[in-house]
Symmetry: C2
Subunit: 173 residues, 2 copies
């Protein structure tokens, strides 16, 4: 029987969102109904993964205003994150999906824009049993790790920035 | 200017191959020419990622005979790995690709089926400067980490097996 997993990709290294998109690719290959909700990425972005999703008609929603730590209007950024979670709740409880990615959601916990205990309590009662959910972002809160079925830490061992190499399109974004 | 990165996804956790497939998804979204060569996965596999690749007409080659550590004929398994590397060399030097994934290649180094120093020396002289290469697998050799531009370790923090939950199609394969 299929058991919907709660998966967390965390840590300071690359590959947290990327592995979630790899799972999406795999799930899409099996005909799963998939959806991505991004808490940080700006609506105006035209990243490689968004272009791919558009080509494949995968549901992909961006709610951030770019890199929130550069935000000049924190109240507005916080409101966007809360709106993303309300939107995610609709998608999760709709029963229309097999896999939903909540990308870079952990930032909203750290900034106290969304309460982790409220999220877990809601998921326990509203997440359809067969639905897989992936949550990504640095420093996942202990409550989330406790609740999740599968947790991976992506650790940076070596980064090209330290060699003076800029981020590469198609690879890092 | 584009700089072809050598990327290594290693560690004992999930997400090494999956993050490589996520990068593939992103690169494909940008219209990159991509190719996957798998050193372990059996030719007969019908995994989610292979189904996705088939739908998208992405070049995807499997050279393994399943889980090599269960192999009954090690000489044949070793020969398959060496054949995969010869095949990869052709693809790498062809100039026809922007991104090539060498999936689960590190096993071949550990088993001494392929010499890591030979591989690095060959890549240094034959890899087109703009080509990105991703090598995945547990316990990447130090020589490979030294040579690579970007190295991430995927660490297992929590695994569903420990809760008695079986591997889930579309998520883990």
């Amino acid at each position: 029987m299929r058991r919907g997993l709660v998966i967390v990709n965390t840590g300071n290294g690359k590959g947290k969102s990327t592995a979630a998109f790899g799972t999406l690719f795999r799930a899409w290959g099996r005909g799963f109904r998939v959806c991505v909700i991004q808490f940080i990425k700006a609506e105006t972005g035209n990243w490689g993964e968004i272009r791919a999703a558009r080509k494949l008609e995968i549901e992909w929603h961006t709610f951030g205003d770019g890199f929130t730590w550069l935000s000049k209007d924190i109240a507005k950024t916080a409101e966007k994150a809360r709106h993303a979670w309300t939107f995610a709740q609709e998608k999760i409880s709709s029963g229309k999906f097999d896999l939903i990615v909540l990308d870079e959601m952990t930032y909203a916990f750290h900034k106290n824009w969304i309460d982790i205990n409220d999220v877990i309590a809601w998921l326990k009662t509203h997440k359809p049993p067969k639905l897989h959910v992936i949550i990504t972002g640095r420093a996942a809160p202990p409550e989330l790790i406790e609740y999740a079925d599968l947790v991976t830490e992506m650790r940076e061992i070596k980064h090209p920035y330290t060699r003076g190499i800029k981020a590469q399109p198609g690879i890092e974004f």
